[in-house]
């Protein structure tokens, strides 16, 4: 029989309840411990972090994915659950490190210079964290130099670039060239997205993948890491 605490964590991820004050989907859950409190309890009880991931976080997200496909859940539900998983992973960070468990991969994420739009990027960050990736989110209006420095310093194998404006999308090309100039062209895979971008644009500027939305970002990254 599965640990009762793991069952509770899984239930609360599906409910998208990060903290005790969150409402969730079902009625009457306010005030009850949610993912943050339950994960802290699990750590205090020395539960195996690998077990938490494989028996709880992953199947919870699979269940949320099914509910989304069946039309029972909408994107806000999906994001709420993914946020819960991201939070759980953050809280478990030291335990994972101690146990020698690595994330599925590390991605630096940024909205390029001159562009302040970040809704899409933030959704991608939530979804990737929820899928078990480590995300280093640099925010918006990030210069080419800073992006390249962060990629180098973090040792990330993946870079996600976002732009909403036709005037800023060209910055992506500049970043990709900069990575090549630094000798990182082969070791760092670049994914791009944002309203004005396209598959054709990605090919044109030498990006490794174009992502139409956050779901595709997860799919593409899963493919690149496979």
């Amino acid at each position: 029989m599965k640990n009762e605490l793991l069952e509770k964590i899984m239930f609360n991820i599906i409910q998208g309840r990060m903290e005790a004050e969150d409402e969730g989907v079902d009625e009457g859950l306010d005030g009850q411990p949610a993912v943050t409190e339950l994960i802290q309890e699990a750590i205090a009880k020395d539960l195996d972090p690998q077990q938490i991931i494989t028996e709880c976080l992953t199947p919870a997200m699979d269940e949320v994915g099914k509910k989304f496909e069946q039309g029972e859940y909408l994107i806000p539900d999906m994001l709420a659950a993914a946020e819960c998983v991201g939070t759980a992973m953050e809280i478990m960070g030291p335990s994972l490190l101690k146990a020698g468990i690595q994330s599925k991969g590390k991605m630096v994420l940024a909205t390029v210079a001159g562009d302040l739009h970040d809704i899409g990027k933030n959704i991608v960050a939530i979804m990737l964290k929820g899928a078990g990736y480590e995300v280093i989110d640099l925010g918006t209006d990030v210069s080419r130099e800073r992006i390249i420095t962060e990629v180098k310093n973090s040792g990330a194998g993946y870079l996600g670039l976002s732009a909403l404006l036709t005037t800023t999308m060209r910055q992506m090309e500049s970043v990709i060239k900069g990575l090549a100039d630094e000798g990182l062209g082969n070791s760092v895979k670049v994914m791009i997205g944002g309203a004005p971008t396209s598959k054709e644009f990605a090919e044109q500027i030498g990006a490794d993948a174009y992502c139409e939305d956050a779901f595709e970002a997860v799919t593409r990254l899963n493919a690149l890491t496979a």
């Binding site: 998208g16 990060m18 806000p76 946020e83 959704i123 960050a125 939530i126």
Partner: protein
């Protein structure tokens, strides 16, 4: 008490109070001079006894009474009409609470067309790109029948935003005559819908048949008065200003029986009424006030709806013209006048001049659906599926109208802005701004599930570069027709067949 929610709106008003009073006085001036031409002697006597100046004249060889009413007579009678009352329904949850002082808007169907438009999607191959196949609707006209009326009632039962039922199709089967028309139309309706049923009365002699049927369903005479599952429409005036003899007799009978009635008038601006707003509204208001006065002279406190259906004429063929700005202007003014008199308003919206569903129909219908809902008229008929200036009923259009009316009801909901709402909002802003993503998505989930947030348009295309509204609406109609009907209990059906003569045997199968 349970009743349908409708939508409580903050009324949009074209007229200020001074303009309302100006129209009221103009209508009273019309009723004083020239007055109305009354073709019913009993009505003329009634008005005379209550202080009107009545004189008999001869018109085309027939007697007609000119009735000139003093303002006091009209005002006093109109003031006795009830401000609020209930229209009942087979299912108590479907009752309607009409209150002239509460702008709660209900939408319903109408009105007695002879043609049913059936829709089918056909595939067409592009000449330019033979691999490209598109679906185009094909329309077929069917003659209205009792079976089609049963279908209409069944469909309307399942249209979420349809609050009451006025039969949208006429029964013209072999075997239907003036003696059994009423029994068949009411039975076909009541046996297939649990919402309020309203209709005109074809034959005064058959009123008792209809009442017997309604009493059997409601559970007796007293139960019917408490839960009037049926009510009647009487277009007692033929515009301009002519009171119709046989309809007036029906008004007497219905009011005496204690059932709710709509006093309706439908002048056409440009032919049977002035086309200008002031003249049109003053005249229709005069006609309705005279009709309402009659009901209150017959029985003070009789439940009556102020029934306004003013339309304007097209100038190219003098047909009715529904999808035009003047329609809204006339009708909004009437809704304001009804509110001024504190009488619930039976109003009109959603008639397409277009003959088939499509962009023209959508424009024409939405133009009036939205404005008339905003007017706060309590009871808006003609709102589902009516095409060709009320000449035909198209069920797939009714399904589309249902979706549009749902969106309008949502749009006009009362603002949710209590102290608690604002406090919740402030707390959410703080929470989100403290988060790394600064996204509000997790906080919309309750709102989505509780219905606070509207759903996407039901018939939208996904990613195709084509409009598939009709195809999707037709699929929705088919699904809806597969839903079970809520028929009357067989024991009630048997009693009705036993006690009410003339109902077609075939209709029993629907029970």
């Amino acid at each position: 008490m349970e009743y349908r929610e409708g939508v409580l709106v903050k009324p949009y008003e074209r007229l200020d109070l001074e303009q309302v009073k100006l129209l009221d006085e103009a209508s009273l001036a019309i009723l004083a001079d020239p007055g109305f031409w009354c073709h019913n002697e009993r009505v003329a006597d009634f008005f005379r006894k209550h202080g009107a100046n009545v004189r008999e004249e001869t018109e085309k060889g027939r007697s007609v009474w000119r009735v000139q009413s003093p303002a006091g007579l009209i005002r006093e009678a109109v003031s006795q009409a009830p401000t609020s009352f209930v229209l009942g329904a087979r299912d108590p949850a479907n009752r309607l609470l009409l209150d002239a002082e509460v702008p709660r808007v209900y939408f319903g169907s109408g009105s007695e067309t002879n043609v049913w438009i059936e829709t089918e999607m056909e595939e067409f191959i592009s000449k330019k790109e033979p691999s490209r196949v598109v679906k185009i609707p094909a329309f077929q006209e069917l003659r209205g029948s009792a079976d089609l009326l049963c279908r209409a009632a069944h469909i309307c039962e399942h249209l979420e935003h349809l609050d009451f039922f006025i039969r949208p199709v006429n029964v013209q089967d072999p075997g239907i005559n003036a003696d059994n028309h009423d029994a068949n139309k009411f039975f076909a309706s009541l046996n297939n819908i649990t919402k309020h049923v309203q209709a005109g009365l074809t034959n005064l002699d058959r009123l008792d048949d209809v009442l017997r049927m309604a009493e059997i369903i409601a559970g007796g005479a007293e139960a019917l008065r408490e839960n009037p599952i049926i009510s009647f429409i009487a277009c007692v005036f033929k515009s301009p200003l002519q009171l119709v003899a046989d309809t007036a007799d029906k008004v007497f009978a219905i009011v005496e029986k204690g059932l709710p009635i709509v006093i309706s008038s439908s002048p056409q601006g440009g032919s049977s009424a002035p086309i200008q707003e002031a003249g049109m509204v003053a005249q229709i208001n005069a006609e309705i006030l005279a009709g309402i006065t009659l009901t209150q002279l017959i029985r003070p406190g009789a439940p009556v709806l102020y029934g306004s259906v003013p339309v304007r004429a097209r100038m190219d063929d003098l047909h009715d013209y529904y999808g035009c700005p003047e329609f809204n202007q006339y009708n909004i003014d009437c809704a304001q006048l009804a509110r001024y008199y504190k009488i619930p308003c039976y109003s009109t919206a959603g008639v397409a001049d277009a003959k088939v569903p499509g962009m023209q129909a959508t424009f024409e219908k939405l133009l009036t659906h939205l404005y008339m809902a905003m007017s706060g008229a309590q009871y808006i008929h003609y709102a589902f599926g009516l095409m060709d200036r009320t000449g035909s009923f198209c069920p797939v259009q009714a399904v589309i109208d249902n979706e549009h009316i749902g969106k309008i009801k949502h749009c006009l909901r009362e603002p949710k802005l209590s102290d608690t709402d604002v406090a919740d909002a402030l707390q959410t802003v703080k929470k989100v701004m403290a988060s790394s993503s600064r996204l509000y998505t997790r906080h919309v989930r309750k709102a989505i599930r509780s219905g606070v947030v509207s759903q996407p348009y039901l018939f939208e295309s996904n990613h195709e570069k084509e409009d598939r509204v009709l195809e999707k609406a037709l699929a929705a109609l088919n699904d809806l027709e597969m839903k079970p009907a809520r028929h009357l209990d067989l024991s009630l059906v048997d009693r009705i067949y036993h006690e009410v003569p003339g109902i077609l045997p075939g209709l029993k199968q629907h029970g």
